[in-house]
Symmetry: C2
Subunit: 470 residues, 2 copies
C-alpha cells in the first residue's frame, strides 16, 4: 500500500473511539482495555459496544457500531479472532479510519489464523481503513490520551519520543518505565503482527511527524528488508533512531515465529544495516530507556572523554576497565586542573587523577562542589561522571546532605554546560531499606528534571554513553 | 613468610579487640569504626584507646595499649599513617596477634609512603604479629561479630562464603548486599595494600578454613603471580572460587596503582590463569553477588538446558537470544510435555514450546502451577526460569495472588529438586511505587529462603547461570 501520512495520523491522533467487546468481566481484553482507557481519560467520546450489556462502569453501552451517534475515528476490537471479521465488515461499511485488533490467533497461530489475517487485511483495503495489529496492545498517545491495553497508569506528559513495538509487553514496559523516568512520548504503537500498518509505515510516519524528535522500536522481523533499510536510512538522517532487534538465534527465531509470525533473518545482515543507517542498536528494555534518556538530556555524540569520579579507589580501577571496553576514553587531567584539584582534595585517601578518587563516598559539600566544578571544566573532559553509593553516603550526610549534593551536580550541569552523569545506587536492598530507596528515587527525579543523567549502575551509564556516541 | 594457618585464624576469629584512635568526633576513621563496632556487638572485650579521651559513647577510654587489663588479640589502628609506627612498636612489645591499619598514605601514595609501609612490615615481622592493610576496612566476621569500618548494619548471620578484597568500598558493598540477599559469610577481609597478609595468604587460609565453602575475591594485582596460580588451583580443586579482577586497561592500571599500589598485569595472562584453575571470573559487585547466590542455591554446574517461561511472547525472542549468547541451551520440549502443556494452556495468547509463553504476566494459579510443574519435570530441562513483571501482575492478582504464585514456585523447587529461577522486576519505578517495590523484596526474600533463585533482570539471571556452569 502507498504511504499515507494523513491516514495514519488520523488513527494515532483519533478524536473519537469505540471499544467493541467492552466489558466489566475480569480477565478479558475488553474489560482490561475499557478500564484502562476510561481511567486514562480519552480527550473525546469513548463509545462502548457490546450487544449483551446496557451499562459498563457507569457508562452507557451500545449494541453495535451502527447505532452510535457518530462514526468513530478509531475502533478497538477486543473480541476473539474468529468473531472479529463481522465487526471489520461493519467498520468498512461505516467508513471508520482505523481499527486496532487486540486478539491473538492470527498469522502467528498457523494456517487457519493466517487465512483470518489475510481476510482482515482485505476487508480493510476494500473499506479504506487501516489496521493496527492484530495480536497487539494498540496505541498510547498522551496528546489525545489514548492508551495501551494495560496503560491506565501511564504518564500524561506529552513528549517527543516515538516507540513502536511488535511486543505488547515490551511496549507496556517502555511506556511505564519511560514515563517514570520523565521520557516524554509522542506515541507508542504496539503493532503485533503488523498485518497492515507495520514497522515501515510507522517509522516513515514518525520520521515525518513534527511532534517526534527521536524514533525507537522493538522489532522481531520485517515485511521487506530493502524497504526497511531505505526507511531507516532516511529517518536516521534527520532524527536519532534506536532499534532493539531480536531473533538472532535459533530459539528466539522460533519464539518470534510463534509470537508474531515474523521471520527474524540473519544477525549479521541486521547489524550491518543498522551501522550503515546510523541506527543505534540496543538490547533490552533497560538499555533502550537508558539510551532514550541520554539522547533526551545530552543528545547524539556528546563526546567520549569521560572523567570518572567517586569515593573509593576500587571504583576507579573497575570503571576504567568498563569505560575502555565500551570504547570511551578516560583522559589524563591537564596539569593545571590536577594541581588545582590537589589543592582542594588535600586530605589522605583522596587521589587526584582520572579516575578521580575523593576518598569517601561523599565529602564536605563545599569541597565536593569545588572539586566537581574543576573536574568538569577541564578542557580534556567531555562528560563528568560521579559514582554514589547512596546507602553509604546517607549514613554520613543524611537526606539533606544528599539533596544538597544533588543540587551541586545540577548547578555544575547548568553552569558548565557539560553533560553530568550520576551513577546512583543503593547496596542496602532489604525490605527495611525502603527509606533510602525513596530518597534515591526523589534525587533521581530532581536531577533528571535538571538535565543530569542518572543511572543505577556504572555498567549501564557507560554503555548508554558509548551507544549515543556510536 | 611461611604460611601460618593458626596465626591468621587467631586474627580473623579474634577474641579481644582494641581500637587505637577511638573517637566520637565526626568524619574520622576512629569514630566511624568505633561506632560501627560497638553497634555490631563484638563477642568479647572491646578496648578503646585514645590518650585525649576519658570516655567515648559511654565506654571508658584507655590512654595506651600498655594500660589495658589484657593484651588484645587484635588491634585496629585508626590514626593517620605517620603516627602509627609508634603504636606498631608497642604492639610488638606487647605481643599482640594482629593489627589492622585502616589509614591510607602508604605504598599507594609514593616513595615516603612506601618507606612507611616497609617499616610497618618489618616491625610486625620482628614483633611476631600480622598486619591486615594498610589502606583497608578490616575484617567482618559474624562469628565473633567483628565488622568492617562502615559495617554497623551488616548481617549477623553466619555462613560459608569468604570474600577478600583490595577495595574497602567493594567489601562493604558485597557485605551489605550479600547480607540482604541471605548470602551468609564466613568472613570478609578488606586487605587494601596487602603489605603483609595478602591474597595468597588469605586464599590459602580460606581454602583450609572448615567454615568456608565458597571463596571469592576482588583483586587489583598480586605480589607473586606464580604462587597465586598454585594457590588458586589448589583452592578451586575443592571449593568454588569466584574472582573479580580489575586493572585490565591503561586507565584502570593507573587507578589500581594510585589505589593500592598494585601492578595489575596483562589481562590475557589473568584470564588464562583463571580458566586453567577452574576459577569463575566475574565483573562488578552485582555479578559477584549473583554468582554467589547461584552457587549457594544450585551449586556448580547445575546444567545448561534452560526452560524460559513467562507471559508475553516478546520475552521469549529476547531471552532466547540472551541465553544462547551466554552459551546456554534452550532445548525443545519433549513431545509428551508439549502435549500435556497444550492441554493446560488451552487459551488464546499462550504458546507452548521453549520459550513457553503463558500469554499473560501470570495466569490463574492452578493453571500456573500445573504448567510450571510439567515444564520443570521435562527430562530435557535442567533449569526452569520464570519471568515476572511484578507491577503488571500486581494489577491483576494483587499481593495475595503474587505471594501464592511465589509459593507455587517454591513448591516446584522442592518437589522436583530442579533449580528454579524467578526473574522479578518492576517497571513501575516512580516515587509513588514503593508499595510494589516492597512486595517484590518480600517475595524475593521468601523465595531465596526456599532455595529459588531470584534475579532482577533476564540478563543477570542468564549470566549467573552461565558462569556457574562454566
Amino acid at each position: 500500500m502507498t504511504f499515507d501520512f494523513e491516514g495514519i495520523d488520523a488513527i494515532i491522533n483519533a478524536r473519537s473511539l469505540a471499544i467493541v467487546g467492552a466489558s466489566a468481566k475480569p480477565f478479558k481484553f475488553g474489560s482490561l482495555f475499557t478500564a484502562a482507557q476510561l481511567a486514562f481519560g480519552f480527550r473525546g467520546p469513548v463509545y462502548l459496544v457490546n450487544p449483551g450489556e446496557r451499562e459498563i462502569l457507569g457508562q452507557p453501552c451500545h449494541s453495535d457500531l451502527a447505532s452510535l451517534p457518530e462514526v468513530p475515528d478509531l475502533v478497538y476490537v477486543t473480541i476473539p479472532a474468529h468473531q472479529s471479521m463481522e465487526i471489520l465488515r461493519e467498520c468498512a461499511r461505516l467508513r471508520v479510519k482505523g481499527v486496532v485488533i487486540l486478539a491473538s490467533g492470527f498469522r502467528e497461530a498457523g494456517e487457519k489464523g493466517s487465512a483470518l489475517e489475510k481476510e482482515a487485511v482485505s476487508i480493510a483495503r476494500r473499506g479504506g481503513f487501516r489496521i493496527v495489529g492484530p495480536n497487539c496492545f494498540g496505541i498510547y498517545n498522551p496528546r489525545n490520551r489514548l492508551t495501551l491495553l494495560p496503560g491506565h497508569d501511564f504518564s500524561g506528559k506529552v513528549g517527543d519520543v516515538a516507540f513502536i513495538s511488535q511486543s505488547g509487553g515490551f511496549s507496556a514496559h517502555v511506556g511505564r518505565m519511560g514515563g517514570d523516568l520523565g521520557i516524554g512520548f509522542s506515541a507508542i504503537v504496539s503493532y503485533g503482527n503488523g498485518a497492515d500498518l507495520d514497522e515501515i509505515d510507522l517509522i516513515r510516519y514518525f520520521s515525518r511527524d513534527p511532534q517526534t524528535k527521536i524514533i525507537s522500536g522493538y522489532l522481531e522481523g520485517t515485511r521487506d528488508g530493502r524497504e526497511l533499510f531505505r526507511v531507516l536510512r532516511e529517518a536516521a538522517a534527520h532524527k536519532p533512531v534506536v532499534i532493539w532487534k531480536v531473533g538472532k538465534t535459533e530459539s528466539s527465531q522460533r519464539a518470534a515465529a510463534s509470537h508474531t509470525g515474523s521471520l527474524a533473518g540473519s544477525s549479521i545482515i541486521w547489524e550491518s544495516v543498522f551501522r550503515q543507517c546510523g541506527v543505534i542498536e540496543v538490547s533490552g528494555v533497560d538499555e533502550l530507556c537508558d539510551v532514550l534518556l541520554a539522547l533526551k538530556h545530552v543528545g547524539r555524540r556528546p563526546g567520549k572523554r569521560i572523567l570518572l569520579a567517586g569515593g573509593g579507589g576500587g571504583l576507579g580501577a573497575y570503571a576504567g576497565d568498563l569505560a575502555e571496553a565500551e570504547g570511551l576514553r578516560v583522559p589524563s587531567l591537564s596539569g593545571e586542573t590536577a594541581s588545582r584539584l590537589r589543592g582542594i582534595l588535600d586530605y589522605p585517601g583522596a587521589a587526584v587523577g582520572n579516575p578521580l578518587d575523593i576518598g569517601t563516598p561523599l565529602t564536605h559539600l563545599p569541597i565536593f562542589e569545588s572539586a566537581m566544578r574543576e573536574a568538569a571544566m577541564d578542557p580534556s573532559v567531555d562528560v563528568l561522571l560521579f559514582d554514589l553509593a547512596i546507602n553509604f553516603a546517607h549514613g554520613l550526610f543524611g537526606n539533606a546532605g544528599l539533596e544538597a549534593a544533588a543540587d551541586i551536580l545540577a548547578g555544575i550541569r547548568e553552569k558548565t554546560g557539560k553533560p553530568v552523569i550520576l551513577v546512583l545506587y543503593s547496596r542496602a536492598i532489604g525490605v527495611g531499606d525502603l527509606g533510602v530507596e525513596e530518597l534515591a528515587r526523589r534525587i533521581r527525579d530532581k536531577l533528571l528534571a535538571a538535565g543530569v543523567l542518572v543511572y543505577p549502575s556504572m555498567a549501564r551509564a557507560l554503555r548508554a554513553l558509548a551507544l549515543v556516541n556510536g
